[in-house]
Symmetry: C2
Subunit: 112 residues, 2 copies
């Protein structure tokens, strides 16, 4: 098999497959610029553990980190999530009832 | 740290993080009931390799398999993808311009 390089969307889905990383993304959504220790605190995670998760999110292009003095602040980058959502939207037909289906259903019901 | 059991959404995102598995889901979308060998053929994958990918998809609740004689046919189950999409939709605000923002932009432009 050919050597496999993870594509952007592979890395996005892979980064999202962990509850700690999803928690980080959810917190950054409402509180942009949180520091690494602020992100780690409510999860009772040690800093090295949090740094590993942030590396995965950063490799997937889902966050940026910037350092001011001794504080690293983290910001969300939502673009890759858009692509992941678009991939999933192809399946919307499976859980959405179309207007035509609904009309057919109502007409059938009227015939009773 | 508490022992970690992968939740459904963890397994969904993890299953989607591989191009072979996404290819399987895309093919099943248009051709429900394809056999394991029909799924493996265009990818030049041997059956055991394909079976491993199908196990991951099945554990994530994204496919069902049924056996008729010697043929295993595979069907898509889209439900878990709906939950994954809903998770991602929380971030829509980051790539969608709201009507208010648009109106403010137009008004500002008019003032020039």
């Amino acid at each position: 098999m050919a050597k496999y390089h993870a594509s952007t969307i592979d890395r996005t889905f892979s980064a999202l497959a962990d509850p700690t990383r999803r928690n980080v993304l959810l917190r950054l959504k409402d509180e942009p610029g949180l520091s690494v220790s602020e992100l780690a605190r409510p999860l009772s995670l040690k800093l090295p553990g949090m740094m590993k998760h942030l590396d995965v999110l950063s490799d997937a292009g889902l966050i940026t980190r910037s350092k001011t003095g001794r504080t690293v602040s983290v910001k969300l980058v939502a673009g890759p999530m858009r692509d992941a959502m678009k991939w999933l939207q192809r399946y919307e037909q499976f859980w959405t009832v179309s207007i035509d289906q609904l009309a057919a259903f109502v007409e059938k019901d009227d015939e009773k």
